[in-house]
């Protein structure tokens, strides 16, 4: 269906907003963002759907907006998925090269990749991505394309991202119910890093942290390949919830306070400062201490960064992040979040911007849209690859999305 069309749509059903980005791919494969639609998301908690009807309604609103803006009809989307159930891990596949001349053939490569994908997952889980890292030929590290090399033993490292099959299906079914097709599901973290990172940064080693409303995704690249990924089911919602609890205000009020006065680093200026909360008539209801507000936010955001830092420390990737840390998502809008992350990670932290696409500059600059843009980019890469592939392989991309 998409072979004759160059419109690619990325859909992210987030905890705080549903966001659709429409891109147009020209003949050279370059991507131009032509449409953007968003709606407040009300039926999602921690990145997972809890009220399908409401999500459907919001989704339609976002799709309508995007279609209006781009002046196209969206028939299928690349769907971003997240949630605390998603995990990433590395697996190694081994394959002995049996041909007489010990030359590694493309078939050998296919076999070793197949072996690496044969993993022991819990029965209810399904693989979202299996990303090839590096090949080893007789133990020689860092081979990116072993075809034509000589060797007896071919190994490959794969990064496998998997999640709970039913929960993933829930999102897919919901999108299908709105008469949209799902081209493929993509882990949000991968989409985000596609939007944020350049090839060079991936080569150097980079950590992408996307602090969303309900979840925080993180992905580590180094040597040009994905090394580690994961989801923390903690996000901006938790910050608001902490504020509501700590300052004893309503959740919606806490949300507003977070946006207006939020700060990730406690500031001296806030000492002794108070904000008065007024009702609609202008009468003062309550005074809130800014210092407390900042401290609560600081602790929560610091904890998110610390948890990720601990995780990376545990897998031994901290020293590989030479390009530094890239922040995006709504959480990165909090003033001082870059400084806080620098303190925690002890390295260069940048607020990420989606690069490598042209078009609506307002959309590209927002850290919240990085994921949706990344989804479109993912789609464009797939399209490009698909056009290079023989026809009989084109179908397999939709392997997971075909099931319903």
């Amino acid at each position: 269906m998409f072979d004759d069309s160059n419109i690619i749509a990325g859909l992210e059903i987030g905890t705080s907003k549903i966001c659709v980005v429409v891109g147009e791919q020209n003949a050279d494969g370059a991507l131009n963002v032509i449409g953007l639609g968003q709606a407040r998301s009300r039926g999602v908690r921690k990145g997972e759907i809890i009220n399908p009807e409401q999500v459907e309604e919001d989704l339609r609103a976002a799709m309508f907006e995007a279609e209006q803006m781009a002046n196209v009809e969206i028939r299928s989307v690349y769907l971003g998925v997240s949630g605390g159930h998603i995990r990433g891990f590395n697996n190694r596949g081994v394959h002995p090269v049996v041909s007489a001349d010990r030359e590694i053939s493309p078939d050998d490569v296919d076999d070793v990749v197949k072996n690496a994908k044969a993993i022991n997952l819990p029965a209810e889980n399904t693989v979202i991505h299996a990303v090839r890292q590096h090949f080893f030929v007789d133990g020689q590290d860092g081979v990116t394309n072993p075809v034509g090399m000589l060797g007896a033993r071919l190994e490959v490292d794969m990064h496998v991202i998997h999640g709970h099959a039913n929960r993933l299906q829930n999102v897919i079914r919901l999108v299908r119910a709105t008469s949209l097709d799902v081209d493929e599901i993509v882990f949000n973290g991968i989409a985000t890093s596609l939007a944020l990172l350049t090839g060079e940064q991936k080569e150097l080693g980079a950590l992408v942290i996307d602090i969303g409303g309900g979840t925080t995704e993180y992905v580590v690249y180094s040597d040009g390949v994905i090394r580690h990924s994961g989801v923390l089911a903690v996000g901006g919602d938790h910050v608001s919830n902490d504020l509501a609890y700590g300052l004893k205000v309503h959740l919606s009020r806490a949300e507003k306070l977070k946006i207006e006065y939020g700060c990730a680093m406690p500031t001296d200026a806030a000492k002794g400062q108070t904000i008065s909360i007024t009702n609609e008539l202008g009468l003062e209801l309550k005074r809130v201490n800014v210092e407390h507000l900042q401290r609560i936010m600081h602790l929560r955001l610091q904890e998110i960064f610390q948890l990720i830092a601990q995780e990376l420390e545990a897998v031994g990737l901290t020293d590989y992040l030479r390009a530094g840390v890239f922040l995006c998502g709504g959480g990165s809008r909090v003033p001082g979040s870059v400084q806080l992350a620098e303190n925690v990670f002890q390295m260069n932290v940048t607020s990420g911007h989606a690069g490598g696409v042209s078009g609506l500059t307002t959309a590209l600059d927002q850290p919240e849209f990085a994921t949706a843009i990344g989804l479109v980019k993912f789609g464009s890469l797939k399209n490009r690859k698909r056009n290079e592939l023989p026809f009989y392989k084109k179908g397999f991309l939709g392997r997971l999305t075909q099931r319903s």
């Binding site: 908690r45 921690k46 089911a233 903690v234 938790h238 902490d242 959740l251 929560r300 904890e303 948890l307």
Partner: protein, 406 residues
């Protein structure tokens, strides 16, 4: 540790006189399930507090512990009442036990009659000079924790009152039955196991043995071992019967797939077969059992019964010392004890937990909660908690870290 009565019994040349008591409704049913023919010479007695149920019993002697107190309604699931009734009629029970060398008590623990009467009956039988062996079932988990607590308390009392208790936690049966088994069949099945055990012990003491298991051996084995005794009875026939029997023993759920053997301090193995029982077969079975329980004292017996023909039947009783002294008085309350029963029940409930011998927790593993003020999780109250290294990340960070706000 032999009482004078037992000495006199051992001196008796003839087969011991046996009385089999079914206590409570479950006990009655078990009694009914015992094939009479095999227990020639044994007397069957039913004891119950429920007159109606007793009337339906097939036992030869029926002892009704009915009193005006209960207005014919039985013990009403309360072991205290059952106990009170039994103690009231202690002399009746004692006289019923007179003249027996061995008394078997069959009961389903957890209810009123079985749990209340059995310990008193055991005491009465002992005072009457008999050796008392109790075969009891513990209730299924789904029957509720009150019954479970009552059953465990009764088991404790029974252990101190009887010479030996062989206990079958019904929950173990779940492993053996498939999902479609009806309730009636399940209970029949449970009963069948117990009946097999009774038959095994019966054969042990009644049949002439090539390698005789003395009654004293049996007493020595099960007495003073105030942990639960695990037993099983398996049968096989055909040329490979010895191997088959071993396999069955090692896979037997009542022996925890053979783990009970490894943990036991004493094991009694009794083989019975037709005339063709060969030494090699005996050797094969014993070797395998010995390998399983290298630390245990093993008592073996072998008997020939022409009626068995091709079949080889093996009874295994594995006993484990409790850490408590045998004579320690047992309180009536549902004091938790270190029994394999408790272990087994708990192990079923929490298969993930490592098997520990010393479980001092309650019979029902309930996570207690200290009366601290519980932090509300606000909007995440109803969502799946986000756990990270045991911390609930939904609870505000400043609270978990104890940062004061003032």
């Amino acid at each position: 540790m032999q009482t004078p009565e037992q000495d006199s019994f051992l001196a008796a040349p003839s087969a011991p006189s046996v009385k089999i008591f079914g206590v409570g409704n479950a006990g009655d049913a078990l009694l009914g399930a015992l094939a009479r023919a095999e227990f020639a010479g044994a007397q069957f007695l039913a004891v119950n507090a429920d007159a109606a149920a007793l009337a339906a019993s097939s036992a030869t002697v029926k002892i009704n512990l009915e009193s005006k107190l209960m207005r014919g309604l039985g013990s009403g699931g309360d072991p205290e009442r059952g106990r009170a009734l039994a103690e009231e009629q202690f002399s009746t029970l004692k006289s019923a036990c007179e003249g027996a060398n061995v008394v078997f008590i069959l009961a389903g623990l957890g209810g009123g009659a079985g749990s209340g009467i059995s310990p008193v009956l055991a005491k009465a039988a002992r005072e009457a000079g008999a050796l008392v062996l109790a075969f009891v079932t513990l209730p299924f988990e789904c029957e509720g924790n009150r019954r479970e607590a009552q059953a465990l308390a009764a088991l404790e009392q029974l252990k101190s009152a009887a010479d030996g208790v062989i206990c079958l936690p019904s929950q173990k049966i779940f492993k053996l039955i498939d999902e479609n088994t009806s309730l009636v069949e399940t209970f029949k099945f449970t009963g069948g196991f117990l009946v097999e055990g009774v038959r095994g012990v019966w054969q042990l003491i009644s049949r002439p043995g090539l390698i005789q298991v003395h009654f004293a051996d049996l007493c020595a084995l099960i007495r003073d071992r105030h942990a639960e005794n695990a037993f099983c009875f398996v049968e096989a026939s055909g040329p490979g019967r010895a191997r088959e029997v071993v396999e069955k023993i090692l896979a037997h759920p009542l022996l925890d797939e053979g783990r009970a053997l490894a943990e036991s301090d004493a094991v009694l193995v009794s083989l019975t077969a037709g005339k063709d029982l060969s030494m090699a077969e005996v050797n094969r079975v014993m070797e395998s059992v010995k390998r399983q329980c290298s630390h245990a004292q093993i008592i073996m017996g072998a008997g020939v019964d022409a009626a068995l023909k091709e079949k080889l039947g093996v009874t295994v009783i594995a006993a484990k010392h409790g850490s408590q002294p045998a004579t320690a008085p047992t309180s009536v309350t549902a004091r938790t004890t270190e029994t394999r029963t408790a272990n087994a029940v708990a192990a079923h409930r929490e298969a993930a937990l490592p098997r520990t011998r010393t479980r001092k927790t309650g019979s029902k593993a309930v996570q207690g909660q200290l009366p601290l003020n519980i932090v509300s999780k606000g909007r995440f109250d109803k969502s799946e908690p986000t756990k990270h290294n045991g911390e609930d990340l939904d609870i505000p960070t400043f609270i978990r870290r104890g940062v004061p706000l003032n």
